[in-house]
């Protein structure tokens, strides 16, 4: 919330697009701005009506450099846009830097995404420390533009709940030290460990104690949200991500050509397998274990075929870790199995469980 809690006293507000960027078709600019207003009206009692002349509450314009509002823009990059808190005259107005390239797709900078943020300021919100929130200060375009729960809480703290019969909710950003944290998938990648949850990855490294949390799309914009399993084939410098009956392979930040592929043709799964819960590849043997519900398959990366005698019950193959796996990875020869907030360290050679840990034990909480 903004210092002094500035807000509009009316809920039926007007806006006007004063000029257009040459980077996009006018209709695309209109649409981007309209969608951005819709995000905020869906989550609050506010309504927005477009006007085409005269003074509107929220005046929207594309300007460059010093545009006489005491806050000059800075050329390409850096500052992309700004907007003033609710109030008369300049209050509520949103300015977009014409020295940027404005787009309606992945390329920098997506106008819908930036407008959604700036209109938050026009309505009285300040910046959020939640990287998953639209009101986070730095530009991140994860492919979809939606209010996070943090954004919804903010706008409703100023204007009250939406009048929609069902109150909108938004995604919550995982907190590394939340004792209830669980994971969708975990994989090693070039010597590091990457923990995946919803739209986010978390990673640690020895020289920086803070857990890095960001959008998976930062590295691989082509991957879908809600990945379910992932594993690394180290000697091919490849990481495979699974969702439903599809999977993608990446090398570093590049998604390999020809993906997604389906798990039936590539690995020989029967058609009744609809998705993979977890997967890990044992570096020393080239054997990859796939976990599906209460069963596991073993795949030979060299022969590129499933081993005979599988699937087996997880409880039989890996006694003691329960009969379902959320995520698993291998580090220094040990398997780490994750189920809910529990983590089992297991020696794959003896199949013995060595330690029981909390799921977020890797995050120095």
């Amino acid at each position: 919330l903004t210092q002094g809690n500035p807000r509009w006293e009316r809920t039926n507000l007007t806006y006007r697009i004063e000029n257009y960027t040459p980077d996009m078709a006018r209709a695309d600019v209109d649409h981007a701005i309209e969608k951005a207003f819709q995000l905020w009206s869906n989550a609050s009692p506010l309504t927005f009506t477009r006007v085409f002349e005269g003074q509107a509450d929220i005046m929207i314009s594309f300007v460059r450099g010093d545009h006489r509002d005491n806050s000059p823009f800075d050329g390409p990059g850096g500052m992309l846009a700004h907007a003033f808190q609710p109030g008369p005259g300049l209050g509520g107005d949103a300015h977009f830097d014409e020295d940027e390239m404005w787009t309606n797709n992945f390329r920098n900078y997506n106008l819908y995404r930036v407008a959604a943020h700036e209109l938050g300021h026009s309505l009285g919100l300040s910046h959020s420390t939640d990287i998953g929130a639209l009101m986070y200060p730095s530009y991140i375009f994860s492919g979809d533009v939606q209010l996070s729960q943090d954004d919804i809480d903010g706008i409703q703290a100023i204007y009250g709940p939406s009048q929609n019969p069902t109150q909108p909710t938004g995604p919550q950003t995982p907190q590394a030290c939340d004792s209830k944290l669980t994971f969708d998938a975990i994989t090693t990648i070039r010597g590091e460990i990457m923990f995946l949850k919803d739209r986010f990855y978390m990673r640690t490294n020895s020289f920086y104690p803070e857990v890095e949390l960001n959008f998976i799309s930062i590295f691989w914009p082509q991957l879908p949200n809600g990945l379910q399993a992932a594993y690394e084939v180290a000697d091919r410098d490849e990481v495979r991500f699974f969702k439903g009956n599809k999977y993608w392979a990446v090398r570093g930040q590049n998604v390999l050509h020809g993906y997604p592929k389906d798990i039936y043709r590539s690995f020989g799964f029967p058609r009744n397998v609809k998705n993979i819960d977890a997967a890990v590849s044992a570096e020393d043997t080239g054997k990859t274990y796939f976990f599906v519900a209460n069963k596991c398959w073993r795949y030979d990366e060299y022969k590129r075929s499933m081993d005979a005698g599988y699937p087996k019950m997880i409880a039989e193959e890996f006694p003691g870790i329960g009969n379902k796996v959320d995520a698993v990875f291998q580090k220094d020869g040990f398997f780490y199995f994750f189920r809910g907030t529990r983590q089992y360290k297991l020696d794959p050679r003896t199949k013995r469980i060595l330690t029981l840990l909390k799921a977020n034990s890797w995050f120095n909480c």
Binding site: L80, Q85, H127, T129, S138
Partner: protein, 83 residues
């Protein structure tokens, strides 16, 4: 990492100064009104920025901090009013 040359350091100082002036209310004329004489306003503001972004709060422009400062962003300050 390669040893930072003096140009790199100078450039980093510029980045930090500009960022803190734009978004953390650091006074550009150096006449920062200080309650305690011996506090360095740049270090204080840098810590404020590192805390906001969940970085290690060191008061020093380490690589992660500079990386965040170089990301494109909204022109509205993170701490002060924008009116």
């Amino acid at each position: 990492f390669p040893a930072a040359t003096s140009e790199t350091q100078e450039r980093d100082v510029q980045i930090v100064q500009k960022y803190l002036e734009n978004y953390y209310n650091l006074k550009s004329d150096g006449k920062q009104v200080e309650k305690q004489r011996n506090r360095n306003p740049v270090v204080e503001k840098l810590k404020q920025m590192q805390k906001f972004f969940g970085l290690k709060v060191t008061g020093k422009p380490d690589a992660e901090t500079l990386q965040v400062m170089e990301k494109p962003r909204c022109g509205v300050p993170d701490v002060a009013q924008f009116v």
